[in-house]
């Protein structure tokens, strides 16, 4: 054993006097006076530290601290009583906040449309005309220029949530269920927003264009990439006469898939 190894061992030995020196360490201590002195110093230091610890063993905060803390506790419990201990991860709380914000946005949009719905204008776009027919199949937008527009998303590609999207639609696959809008905007299929079975039949409605976060869109069942949950995408929300959102679809104004 050399001095370096003995020094390491000596400190552990000094901290725990019940441990006896190994044969090698004992031999080194006898042959090296400096290491023997270092071990003695460390043992004395342990004694000194224990004496200090023992000397302050009963030290504690004065009683007034407890009185003040109990008063603060009562005050805090009165202001914001906590009934359960469920520490949520920050990421989860963040997503929850986004989902709540999305719900508020949809509700606000519904309220706005409901206020304006008293004087419904004749539908100007093919989509709105279809909405007034009321059936589920009519909710889907009519076909546009089949096979001509290479910027249109194939509807099945988007709704299936699969990986291939750009390659197929850029290769000019025939369009089946997409609608072309002005300014090269492309809409995918409407996805129904499910509330329950007590909705009134859809006899008419209006489409409202909104921007929603990816996480909110994903929570509504749309096939979007949620790696950037706070990034917003454009979407059309179809509202019924009762002001409730009935279906939603993505609008792509960049020619890119929202799954990217």
């Amino acid at each position: 054993m050399n001095c370096k190894r003995f020094e390491i061992a000596a400190i552990e030995l000094a901290r725990d006097p019940s441990v006896e020196l190994e044969e090698q360490a004992r031999a080194h201590r006898q042959s090296c006076p400096e290491c023997a002195a270092a071990l003695a110093d460390q043992r004395s230091l342990t004694s000194g530290l224990r004496a200090l610890n023992w000397n302050t063993r009963s030290a504690s905060a004065p009683p007034r601290v407890e009185v003040e803390l109990r008063a603060a506790f009562r005050k805090a419990a009165t202001i914001s009583p906590v009934t359960s201990w469920t520490p949520a991860p920050a990421k989860f709380r963040f997503r929850l906040a986004f989902a709540a914000a999305a719900v508020v946005m949809i509700a606000a949009a519904a309220f706005y449309v409901r206020e304006r719905f008293a004087n419904p204008a004749p539908p100007a776009s093919p989509t709105e005309a279809v909405v007034q027919d009321g059936s589920r199949s009519d909710v889907e937008p009519p076909l546009g220029d089949k096979g001509k527009d290479q910027n249109v998303f194939p509807a099945q590609t988007l709704s299936s949530g699969g990986a291939h999207s750009k390659a197929s639609h850029r290769a000019g696959h025939p369009r089946e269920n997409g609608t072309r809008f002005e300014n090269s905007e492309v809409g995918m299929d409407f996805v129904p927003v499910i509330y329950g079975s007590d909705l009134t039949p859809l006899e008419g409605g209006q489409i409202l264009r909104v921007r929603l976060s990816r996480s909110a869109l994903a929570s509504l069942g749309l096939p979007v990439n949620v790696e950037h949950p706070d990034e917003t995408l454009m979407a059309d929300v179809m509202l019924g006469e009762d002001g409730l959102a009935r279906s939603i679809r993505l609008i792509d104004s960049k020619g890119e898939s929202p799954q990217d």
Binding site: E7, I8, I11, A14, R15, A38, A40, D41, Q42, S44, L45, T46, S47, G48, L49, A51, L52, N53, W54, N55, T56, R57, S58, A59, S60, A61, P62, V65, E66, E68, L69, R70, A72, F73, R74, A76, A77, P81, V82, T83, S84, W85, T86, P87
Partner: protein, 207 residues
Amino acid sequence: MKISQIPGDEDLLRMMMAGDEDAFATLYRRRQGAIYRFALHMSGSPEVAEDVTQEVFMTLIGDAGRYDPARGSLASYLYGIARNHVLRRHGADRYYVQLLDDQDDEPPTVGAVAREDPFADLARNEVIEAVRRGVLALPTHYREVIVLCDLHEMNYADAAAVLGCALGTVRSRLHRARKVLAEKLRAAADSEPEPASETGAAARCLA
């Protein structure tokens, strides 16, 4: 009372968060002494120790939900808060210089034990004071491992949780800190032979 009926720290924390003041008081009485002594050993000041203790439990009252049992015990969590408050209040080096300037102060009498031999008491108190000053003169990162591992007899893993570093770091820092502390005391003992002085106490400590 059976041991199984004694609520653990986390049980008390849950009850406290549900508004149970008695649970908070029990938790406070169980842990305040260690927190106070930690702050006292780190700062050398009873006033600072009192303030830090109060701030630690005020933090617990205000945001107990931040405690994550997966990251360590509640005691370690409280030590960690106390450490942050101590460091924030004084900075790394400022207060130990101040304490070195303060060497004529009375030694602490807290917890002093009556002995039959007053001379033995005197010698023992001098040794304790010498070690106390030696600990306070250490750099912060050495002082905190000495306080946690040697004065509070915390194992390496718990100390690592408090300090937010690896277990091996705690071990190496402690070895280095003890070596530095022993050298300081030895140097003080060798420099002044007067037995009644602080260095005389250091000499007795390292005798």
